[in-house]
């Protein structure tokens, strides 16, 4: 080959190679950039979720702490004062000779006694350690018993399966959620009957709280982002998600509400 033809072939080869190289570069660049963006999006979403969970966790901790403090104050101050009041009434009852007055004092004494019992029950309900010490089922039963004692509501709790511990963190969150759902049913739905069923399946834990209240338009409330009830329900759902659970709410106007929370359970050793 003459030198010029050699040069020409070389130049054409370089040109073709360069062209292919540039085209490949642009295609690879676009693919890599897209992949990187998607990975980054996933990372951002995970970070946001973790951040949300952290906020929720902090909220729960603060709520728990506040409730515990409130419970302690009730027990230590109000409870003590009521006990002193009862002692005084007892002394007074013994010193007074008039039968009518004595009867009134005894009645007052009974009311104080009832109040002390209520304050104790409320203290236990507010105290997160109660869940730690006595377990989820006993704490929930105690909560329902406290409500039943008012004689304005009927409550029932049923359990199925062999109870196991979900761990304090999970149980305290579940207990607080149950408390909120029950409180909503009594306060907003004007329910008179509450039925709680707890299911301990080997790989699943579930709790269902059903009331006979006036119900609500669940879809409508959840659609309205600014609605207060919607925010409350979303908060319950977020808290359930925080412990790896799923919260399903079913409600129809005048047909009551059912809140069901399901959590996957991984037995120790698996």
């Amino acid at each position: 080959m003459a030198p010029s033809i050699e040069h020409l072939v070389l130049a054409i080869s370089i040109g073709a190679f360069l062209f292919l190289l540039l085209t490949s570069f642009i295609v690879i660049f676009l693919l890599l950039q897209k992949r990187k963006y998607q990975a980054n999006q996933k990372k951002t979403a995970a970070m946001q979720a973790a951040f949300q969970q952290e906020i929720l966790q902090t909220q729960l901790e603060v709520q728990n702490l506040t409730m515990q403090q409130l419970g302690r104050e009730l027990h230590d101050n109000i409870g003590q004062l009521l006990s002193v009041l009862r002692l005084n009434l007892n002394v007074l009852e013994e010193t007074v000779e008039d039968e009518g007055t004595r009867g009134q004092i005894a009645e007052s004494n009974q009311i104080v006694e009832q109040t002390i019992a209520d304050v104790r029950a409320l203290t236990k309900s507010l105290d997160g350690d109660f869940v730690k010490d006595f377990g989820f089922i006993d704490s929930l039963s105690h909560e329902l018993q406290r409500i039943r004692k008012t004689r304005r509501y009927q409550t029932e709790i049923t359990t199925s399966g062999t109870p196991y511990s979900l761990g304090y963190q999970h149980e305290i969150v579940l207990f607080r959620i149950a408390q909120e759902v029950i409180n909503n049913a009594l306060k907003h739905a004007a329910a008179t009957t509450l039925h709680v069923s707890v299911g301990y399946e080997p790989t699943n834990f579930g709790i269902t709280i059903k009331d006979n209240g006036k119900g609500f338009d669940y879809e409508g409330i959840m659609r309205n982002e600014l609605s207060k009830s919607g925010a409350g329900l979303r908060n319950i759902q977020r808290r359930a998600e925080l412990i790896g659970g799923k919260c399903v709410v079913e409600s129809k106007i005048n047909e009551g509400t059912t809140v069901c929370i399901k959590i996957e359970h991984f037995p120790v050793g698996n």
């Binding site: 003459a2 360069l18 676009l30 890599l32 963006y37």
Partner: protein, 215 residues
């Protein structure tokens, strides 16, 4: 003037008007301002070159001794606004006087500005620099995690067009030189593919980039 050259000139003028309209549309944005000057200067130079070629039939290669340094300065200012790294910006600014020194010395003492010869230093120094500018921009674009899609960015298309043109044109020019010594007729036949087509590609890319602009 060949038909393909008319198309080339029309494409360049069209591109210039797109840059003008985008300059007005996007409130005198810096990118379009620089592109407006760059393409306007390109139109001005090419029209003079074609006119002189038609009327005097002389070698008008000396025009590029002026055109190429100014073109590089405008490209440098175009990318200056897009580089994120301060170090890169400083380097870019320093490259302007360095390139100018090489260009002036080359034109005055090596290639002879009045001999009608083309300024080879443009292809030796200018072309690699004009490839590095968009390449670095793409590198920074790749590292920008917030960028959803690069194809909606005018500068992506402009960079791809610039990179393709300046990396290919140097090789194509050498093919033309080799061809002209071998077969003049073949060189004239392939001129369209080796010189005009890369220009078409570049200005089409510029037009796509500017018209594709999404705010």
């Amino acid at each position: 003037m060949a038909f393909s050259q008319y198309i080339y000139l029309s494409l360049l003028i069209l591109c210039f008007f797109i840059s003008l309209s985008q300059y007005v549309k996007y409130g005198q944005a810096y990118t379009y301002k620089v592109l407006f000057f760059l393409l306007g200067f390109g139109v001005f130079t090419e029209v003079i070159q074609f006119y002189m070629q038609e009327t005097s039939n002389k070698n008008v290669g000396f025009i590029y001794h002026f055109y190429n340094p100014i073109e590089y300065i405008l490209y440098a200012f175009l990318y200056l606004d897009f580089y994120i790294s301060t170090k890169a910006k400083k380097t870019l600014l320093w490259s302007i006087p360095i390139y100018l020194i090489f260009a002036i010395l080359g034109s005055l003492f090596v290639y002879g500005i009045l001999d009608g010869k083309k300024d080879a230093h443009n292809h030796i120094i200018g072309d690699p620099l004009k490839v590095i500018l968009p390449l670095y921009y793409l590198y920074e674009l790749y590292n920008d995690d917030s960028q959803e899609s690069v194809i909606i960015l005018p500068m992506f298309w402009i960079s791809v067009g610039t990179m393709f043109f300046f990396s290919l044109v140097a090789v194509f020019m050498s093919i033309r030189v080799e061809l002209s010594s071998l077969d003049k007729e073949l060189e004239r036949t392939l001129h369209f593919w080796l010189n005009t087509v890369p220009n078409y590609v570049m200005y089409i890319m510029y037009s796509i980039g500017m018209l594709w602009h999404r705010q």
